[in-house]
């Protein structure tokens, strides 16, 4: 299960970073910015806010080519968000410019130039800061080299996808990645280590196994034993369940009903959480045996409780994700499966119900339209009859968009970060190993 996670990959100072400034103390970290453009603007804007508070921010249009299909508007959108980050005295230039025009830019105010381009499956935002001209322009290039140049990278979301060709929600391949573990109860997929390469975490009853998923290939990299992470629960569930997700802070939060508490893995460090299961997307839950309580609680005492959107009835499967609209607004969407097999999806303002869904759930925006997709297995006890089904929550209906039979049975599933040109991969744990729908 995976939230639509902003992924900061790099901040590069081309010139001396002396001009760059640290975030103000007490300010929320940029990882709390959930949209791609918001996150990039936060990271870039904060770095120059001290000297660029009254800057004019100009978006540099990306070069249009088949390889870089980004529309120019993305630069303006990024410029607006950077200007908002800089403060009330900053302003954004309403048109995407080219570099030749910038040479003639005349203003006593500092100039911030931002660009956006696709790099692999991520959006790279770059910022150049130009101090105000000391003397009036007399023609030619009056601006010197930028005093600060930096860049940041994030995964794609629906707001960025407005500036990209649409993608189809279709499965081109269903292939096995690895033999996999025999007892996987939860999967998570995301950029766990900041390299931009998705990591698949397979949470089994005995081990947590990590592998990279790059260019369609899975490579196992490490594993941890469950017994070193958490003690056995005094009263587990007879049929175990687990949840896991990779958080915006690049931790793996995981929990199993077999274990006394959930765990947060940050690199090699394991932190015991104050609840039994993480709820992907934010918050944690405890058990209301033999089901899961629908009331979200805080995962640790020093973090805010994420109670909304709430569900009312006890659950036996959970999913959640932050979904970014095409306008860049973030909303936490949660899904839970009731004991009857019905799956309830809610964003707090609205709720929708699938009469019967399997016990493996994930939420993500698979087609980049800003509306959530619910990914489920089927409500069957016969593995041969199982399938992965994708529904789009559009208005007041759940539309089935994709169905892939999985005769080995789906034991766990997760959605990986979105690539630029196609649907995100859905990884599955089955009795025959780790598979991917892409």
């Amino acid at each position: 299960m995976r939230a639509c996670v902003p992924l900061f990959l790099a901040v590069i100072f081309a010139g001396p970073p002396a001009g760059a400034t640290a975030p103000t103390q007490g300010e929320a970290p940029c990882t709390s910015e959930r949209s791609t453009l918001g996150g990039l603007a936060c990271e870039l804007g904060r770095a120059v806010r001290a000297q660029a508070a009254d800057a004019v921010v100009v978006g540099l249009a990306p070069t249009l080519s088949p390889a870089t299909p980004l529309k120019p508007g993305v630069a303006v959108a990024l410029a607006v968000k950077v200007a908002l980050t800089l403060g009330r005295k900053a302003s954004a230039w309403p048109l995407a410019e080219d570099r030749a025009h910038l040479a003639h830019f005349v203003s006593p105010r500092p100039l911030v130039v931002v660009t956006a381009k696709l790099e692999g499956d991520a959006l790279v935002g770059s910022l150049e800061f130009f101090a105000p001209a000391a003397t009036p322009p007399t023609g030619g290039n009056t601006r010197m080299d930028p005093s600060v140049r930096l860049a940041a990278k994030q995964g794609l979301d629906a707001e960025v996808r407005r500036f990209l060709p649409p993608i189809a929600l279709a499965a081109r391949e269903f292939v096995r990645l690895a033999p996999g573990e025999s007892d996987v109860l939860a999967l998570a997929c995301g950029d766990l280590d900041g390299t931009g390469v998705p990591v698949v975490a397979s949470v089994g009853r005995t081990f947590v196994t990590f592998g990279t998923y790059r260019a369609g290939k899975y490579t196992r990299i490490s594993r941890r034993e469950q017994r070193e992470l958490a003690p056995v629960a005094p009263a587990p569930l007879r049929e175990p369940l687990g949840t896991a997700w990779i958080t915006p802070a690049r931790t793996l939060d995981l929990g199993l009903s077999d274990r006394a508490h959930a765990v947060r893995l940050r690199g090699a460090q394991a932190e015991a959480l104050a609840a039994r299961l993480p709820w992907p997307g934010g918050g944690c839950v405890n058990f209301d045996a033999p089901l899961v309580s629908p009331r979200a609680v805080r995962c640790s005492k020093d973090e805010a409780v994420v109670t909304e959107p709430g569900l009312a009835e006890p659950l036996d499967a959970l999913a959640g994700a932050t979904i970014i609209s095409r306008a860049g607004d973030a909303r936490l969407v949660r899904a839970g499966r009731l004991a009857s097999g019905a799956v309830v999806v809610t964003d707090g303002a609205h709720e929708i119900r699938l009469d019967h869904g399997g016990a493996q759930l994930a939420l993500a925006d698979l087609d980049g339209d800003g509306a959530p997709e619910l990914v489920t297995s089927l409500d069957t006890l016969d593995p041969r009859a199982d399938a992965v089904v994708v529904y789009s929550w559009l208005g007041s209906v759940l539309n089935e968009r994709l169905r892939v039979p999985v005769p080995a049975g789906v034991r766990a599933l997760a959605v990986c970060p979105a690539p630029a040109d196609r649907m995100p991969s859905i990884v599955l744990a089955t009795s025959e190993g780790l598979w991917v729908i892409r």
Partner: protein, 420 residues
């Protein structure tokens, strides 16, 4: 915990299972090795510390880990936080008490070879087996007759860490989901157990849809519509003991030879599964007019006893069946004051060495402390050197209502209904 389907859908929760069994209502004791009702029901109420996988390798269940092998013995530690169905916190003292209690009852079969455990002064959750091998300790503590119970345990109000909590009554028992279950609460909310009837009543109850499981069949007069046959692992053996009052006929091996002449055909409907007799090697009863005593608490065994008595009543001799209470049977067994006794011996684990230990302890608990090397673990072969003969295994089989699932293993915690 359930090893079957994970994911897909999930096992449905809730619902009630109604069982009508041909056994008298009575105490449920996980440490008993001679009570078929306890063998059937007690594993749902109390758990052993370890479980064996298909390869007979032990894995921790109530234990925190496999036994720790030390230079001078083996240490066993309980999982932290265990609480019984009636809310009693369990620690090393409960474990010592449980093992001592088991050793005085059916658990002696698997515990006799081990030294008595001691309290671990350094850890309230641990006990120590001096000079013991860790693997042997784990295997012994995987037997259901060594289950952990609280020090306040009373078989009339049984308590443990199992999937259910039992409340006994004069004509049955109600098993309710144990929210503290150490291996997970049951899928079913409740099992209603009707006891006291005979085999015919058990079948009639299923046929008339007053029960959800047909004991040894799908109905008394006709098969219930939609009934699905099942066969679960056997819970033990029906044995014929020869005692002091049989005189020379109580010698080891005689009982086994006598049983060779008992026709097997009439026994099959009574739930006994046994190899065909070999008439050439059998012996006819020649001990005169005697009683064949059998437990009144198991009408099924009384019916089996009647078949045996008929087979033994040859040559002017009369063997008559006498049903005795559990206490009388236990006293006769202890004092050896009987001629013939039909009895039940509980299986203590998967077939193999545990078969040998179970039958040795049934014959004489002291034998289980020094078991011989056996060339065969076949129950009938083992019994040829003992004053008891194995008539067959007691089947757990019959038919289930179509919406009852998971009963094939007779692990009641794993049973569920698809339409509760």
């Amino acid at each position: 915990m359930l090893e079957r389907a994970r994911a897909l859908g999930r096992t449905p929760l809730g619902g009630t299972l109604r069982l009508s069994l041909p056994f008298a209502a009575g105490p449920l004791d996980p440490h008993s090795a001679d009570d078929p009702l306890s063998a059937l029901i007690a594993p749902a109420l109390a758990d052993p510390l370890y479980v064996l996988d298909a390869e007979k390798n032990p894995h921790p269940s109530l234990a925190a880990a496999l036994p720790e092998q030390l230079a001078n013995g083996a240490r066993v530690s309980l999982r932290a936080g265990l609480v019984s169905a009636r809310g009693r916190a369990l620690d090393g003292k409960d474990l010592l008490w449980s093992l001592a209690r088991a050793r005085e009852r059916g658990g002696v079969a698997v515990l006799a070879e081990l030294p008595k455990p001691l309290k671990d002064p350094g850890d309230a959750l641990s006990v120590f087996f001096p000079s013991a091998d860790a693997k042997s300790v784990a295997v012994a503590l995987a037997s259901p007759v060594t289950a952990l119970v609280p020090r306040t345990f009373d078989p009339q109000a049984p308590d443990g860490t199992g999937a259910f909590r039992a409340t006994l009554s004069a004509n049955g028992a109600v098993l309710e989901r144990n929210q503290n279950a150490a291996r997970g609460p049951a899928f079913l909310s409740r099992i209603e157990l009707a006891l006291g009837g005979d085999l015919a009543e058990a079948l009639r109850a299923f046929e008339s849809e007053r029960a959800d499981v047909g004991w040894l069949g799908a109905g008394l007069y006709r098969a219930r519509a939609g009934a699905v046959s099942f066969e679960a692992p056997s819970i033990g053996w029906v044995v014929l003991r020869t005692g002091h009052d049989a005189g020379h006929w109580s010698a080891p091996g005689i009982a086994a030879q006598l049983l060779e002449r008992v026709p097997r055909g009439p026994l099959a409907p009574l739930g006994l599964m046994s190899a065909p007799p070999s008439a050439q090697n059998g012996a006819a009863w020649g001990g005169g007019n005697v009683e064949l005593v059998a437990p009144a608490t198991a009408p099924q065994l009384i019916e089996v006893a009647n078949q045996i008595a008929a087979a033994f009543s040859v040559g002017g001799q009369r063997v008559s069946v006498r049903a005795l209470s559990s206490a009388e049977i236990a006293e006769r067994r202890r004092s050896n004051r009987y001629a013939l006794m039909l009895d039940f011996v509980r299986a203590l684990g998967p077939p193999g060495r545990s078969t040998l230990l179970a039958l040795l302890a049934a014959a004489n608990p002291a034998l289980a402390a020094r078991p011989p090397n056996a060339s065969s673990y076949d129950a009938a072969d083992i019994a040829r050197t003992l004053p008891l003969g194995v008539l067959g295994t007691l089947r757990v089989a019959g038919a289930r209502a179509p919406d009852v699932r998971g009963i094939e293993t007779w692990q009641l915690g794993n049973v569920y209904r698809v339409a509760p």
